[in-house]
Symmetry: C2
Subunit: 551 residues, 2 copies
């Protein structure tokens, strides 16, 4: 049985689901020994521990230089060293591999990509450790977002790409009737060709979840991929690259279709992304470097997800308690180090009405801060929600949060029961005036939450729209029991092109972005120029060459 | 019956044909009175004549300033003046219209677009006159390329856009099973939103054929369109805009969904394309302005078709007579003023082998020049192939052709039997050495054909590849009876991403690019950054905003 046949059922279902966009998650999200194998979790933890302090070897990626200085946000050095190969060699090898890869038929390529996804899924527990101890995510999130949910996103992008490519006939017969004369007949071959080398630059928080869409779309469209992982979050990418190369090699394909560059030299990265053979660049990270890439790599199609300012509007709303519960999780999960986490909460300074009763700004604020305190009241439980702080810059930001306004809930350090040196902080909640634009109209990445006093309900709409227009957003939320108000919010979301969550009080929070259901970002405001995954995310990753001939 | 129902059969067939890419042309290509109505041709010619010397009025496009100084390449001033409205007013009106247009359901928008195409089709004879007396195309070509073939391209793009938009569900229900607990349920709305204003900058040779793909894709994706026609080729666009606005108004829609800017001020065009509300720019024309647009309108997605250098390789080939016949038409049609026309013909200096016999370079050249002479030997017939020369720059280029190398066939002026002052010239054919790169590695737009002496068959491949790599090409051709050689040519076409015609000797010439069959350009070499029409041409013209809510 070919790999395509082996995985065809999954692909078929994926092709249905991208047109439904209801719920579907093919890779099981719970770290269950029933699904992933008895002892798989323990074995993966041992394997991670034994990996620390060693060279991470990948067949075929050899170098005299090994680099790496990852530090776990849970408080220890990983001491793992990775083979550092120079950009020129990687490019040469990637081009050579691409010449073979592009000749492999679509269904065969799809089968191999699906097998890579399946293999990644089998290694989800290993990925959990790798993600946890580089990004600082709590364990279950590391498993889910690093493993099955990232694989879902990869499969989703694979399905979009497959559908587009399958819609291009490989041959056609042109037969033009010419009345009484014989028809004019020509035959055509349509050859799908790669754009070139696809460079994927990954971030320090969701290295796999934010990159598998690009990986599997680029691969299926015949391109070779070179990963450039964030210098403190290499292991999840190294693991992905190793697994993918193993599958390629097992199937007799030059594994240099996928590789990675490890470099401590910023100039080398800049050289790589400007190389004439690099035609696709996917980037998740800071606005600064994202903007730089958009301007400085004109030879490539550049897909960026950068910083945004996610906001929630609190309007007249009847179920404030449920709102507080839902928001507290949205604000606390992984210490607000998610690009989907809300940062700014707009509340009218004169308060709102709930069930006919006036609730002051301070009372609404107290519901939110109280819910956060309650959610994080037990340290053992709190650490499984908060995870650890990814880097010192975020600690600094938390420390300086009180300079932004009136501190409503100070951040608190928590001791992790298992990791003594882990950096764990509860969110700081600060009250800010809507007049102080410069304080809230920028991203304060990490656990710094701003409750913003607006002049009125209408003013909330204005400052929100102004914020998205100038700074972009990945998500937005509103709580309102007034359908007319919601309609206005929806109209602004549509005008400013931001995805909107309305009145979430149940098991789904604003941060939630799930493959096959949620388009991650709209790709049409300043926070991101692409969406995961839509037609535009995949259509620039290949071209079609036509060869025609008289029949 | 709604317009969607009225045209649904056409749309359905179009959706099938974009996946087949065999022969299909829904709009009848012959200027036939049986199809287009008895007397339609004569009436259209009268209408054109009575239009000359007058103001061209378009309902709702009023101005105090009327501009226009078109000159027919057939030797007379059109003296038609068009309403010139400033960019700011057009943008304001287009934005206002877009706010309504985007709320109209997809199928209704599709029905209106299909009605516009149908109405354009009914006016094909009027378009023929407009195109002929601005571009200089011969009459039948003006009818076909200006009318039905342009409409085909519009419908093709409409079908690609419709398919993408139809694949996005308008709503979905997310229902995640939670074991023994109740499932998590959320509802989603997916709203397709326009990118913004779509500016279409048209060229002086194929104003409608090269722009209807953009027009109908942009319109169906909810955008407003502002046309910026070439200053000497306004009438075909004014006619298109008028017809489209009529259909919109008849259906109660603000006609400012489509308008045009007439300006003699280069600065005003530059201001328009840099406006923050302009999010899509389609351009056909010079490399200089195309490159400028790609760099200077970062707020927009820019789709360009610029200059390329189209080449033909002549290798060992048995049917040289048929080759000569086919090539002579390719080189003569509309005086090589087609972006698909070949310019450079590479022939080994030691000649080739045909049916086992050695044929010298000069003999191959003689077959080509002889075929051209024969094709154009009768003036009355020649003018219907050559059309007229579009502008003085081209005349100058023909005049200086002998400075490029040895003149093999000088250009000859022809007198048009109907238009005394028409500028009509047969192609100049010049022999150039492959060493003189600077002479043949640039576009000599118009009837200047270069026969290039290469060192060998292999050298032909090298110089051809080098030419495409550095200057791009819309088309390429090869004549070879050696399948191994053809394989090498195909491999280069695939590497350099150029569409290739092999051994065309019948009723199809290299220049031929037909909707529903040929992708016009690959969009992946220096001649053009987009193809007509593929998924990538349409996927950047809209975004999707998701609004989600607990169920």
């Amino acid at each position: 049985m070919s790999l395509f046949e082996k995985h065809n059922k999954t692909l078929k279902r994926a092709l249905e689901e991208i047109s439904n966009r209801g719920f579907w998650s093919p890779y099981f999200e719970m770290p269950s020994s029933k699904v992933y194998g008895e002892g798989a979790k323990e074995k993966a933890t041992e394997s991670f521990q034994s990996q620390c302090g060693k060279h991470f070897e990948i067949d075929g990626l050899k170098s005299n230089t090994y680099l790496g200085s990852e530090v776990s946000p849970y408080g220890f050095d990983l001491n793992i060293k990775y083979p550092a190969i120079d950009a020129d060699t990687l490019i040469k090898d990637a081009l050579c591999a691409m010449q073979e890869w592009k000749k492999i038929p679509l269904d065969t390529r799809a089968g191999i990509c699906l097998e890579i996804l399946d293999r990644l899924n089998q290694h989800s527990f290993e990925m959990a450790n790798a993600v946890m101890h580089t990004t600082g995510q709590p364990y279950v999130m590391s498993f889910q977002a690093g493993g099955p949910h990232a694989q879902d996103r990869g499969l989703e992008a694979l399905a979009y790409t497959y559908r587009q490519l399958k819609n291009i006939p490989t041959t056609s017969r042109f037969e033009k009737p010419m009345g009484k004369n014989p028809p004019i007949v020509t035959n055509r071959k349509f050859v799908v060709v790669p754009k070139g080398i696809s460079v994927i630059i990954t971030c320090s928080t969701f290295p796999t979840w934010n990159s598998y869409s690009a990986l599997f779309s680029s691969l299926l469209a015949c391109n070779s991929v070179i990963y450039k992982p964030h210098s403190n979050v290499i292991l999840p990418i190294a693991l992905s690259v190793k697994i993918a190369r193993d599958v390629l090699a097992e199937n007799g394909i030059n594994p240099n279709v996928i590789s990675m560059i490890i470099s401590e030299d910023r100039a080398e990265t800049q050289k790589l992304v400007k190389d004439e053979h690099v035609k696709l660049i996917d980037f998740t990270g800071s606005t600064g470097f994202g903007d730089w890439l958009e301007k400085n790599a004109p030879q490539a199609n550049v897909y960026t997800e950068k910083a945004g300012v996610n906001c929630v509007i609190v309007d007249h709303f009847n179920d404030l308690k449920a709102m507080g519960r839902n928001l507290s999780l949205a604000l606390s999960l992984y210490s607000s180090q998610m690009c989907t986490a809300p940062q700014n909460i707009f509340i009218p300074k004169d308060g709102i009405i709930s069930n006919g009763e006036k609730i002051s700004f301070d009372d609404v604020a107290a519901i939110i801060t109280g819910s956060i305190e309650k959610l994080l009241s037990v340290d053992e439980r709190a650490v499984e929600i908060l995870g650890a702080i990814q880097n010192d810059g975020i600690c600094q930001r938390v420390k300086e949060a009180d300079t932004l306004g009136t501190m409503l809930l100070p951040s608190r350090d928590i001791k992790h029961p298992l990791f003594d040196n882990a950096t764990i902080k509860t969110p700081a909640v600060v009250k800010v005036s809507a007049k102080d634009k410069e304080r809230y109209q920028s991203e304060h990445f990490g656990p710094v939450i701003l409750l913003i006093e607006t002049d009125s309900r209408e003013d909330s709409l204005n400052v929100w729209q102004d914020t998205i227009k100038h700074h972009g957003a990945i998500t937005a939320g509103v709580y309102s029991s007034d359908e007319d108000f919601i309609e206005k919010v929806e109209a602004i979301a549509i005008d400013e092109k931001v995805n909107l969550s309305v009145n979430l009080i149940g098991g789904v929070i604003i941060n939630h972005s799930m493959a096959f259901t949620d388009f991650h970002a709209t790709g049409d405001n300043k926070a991101a120029n692409c969406a995961l995954t839509n037609e535009n995310f995949v259509s620039g990753r290949y071209s079609v060459v036509t060869i025609k001939r008289d029949a």
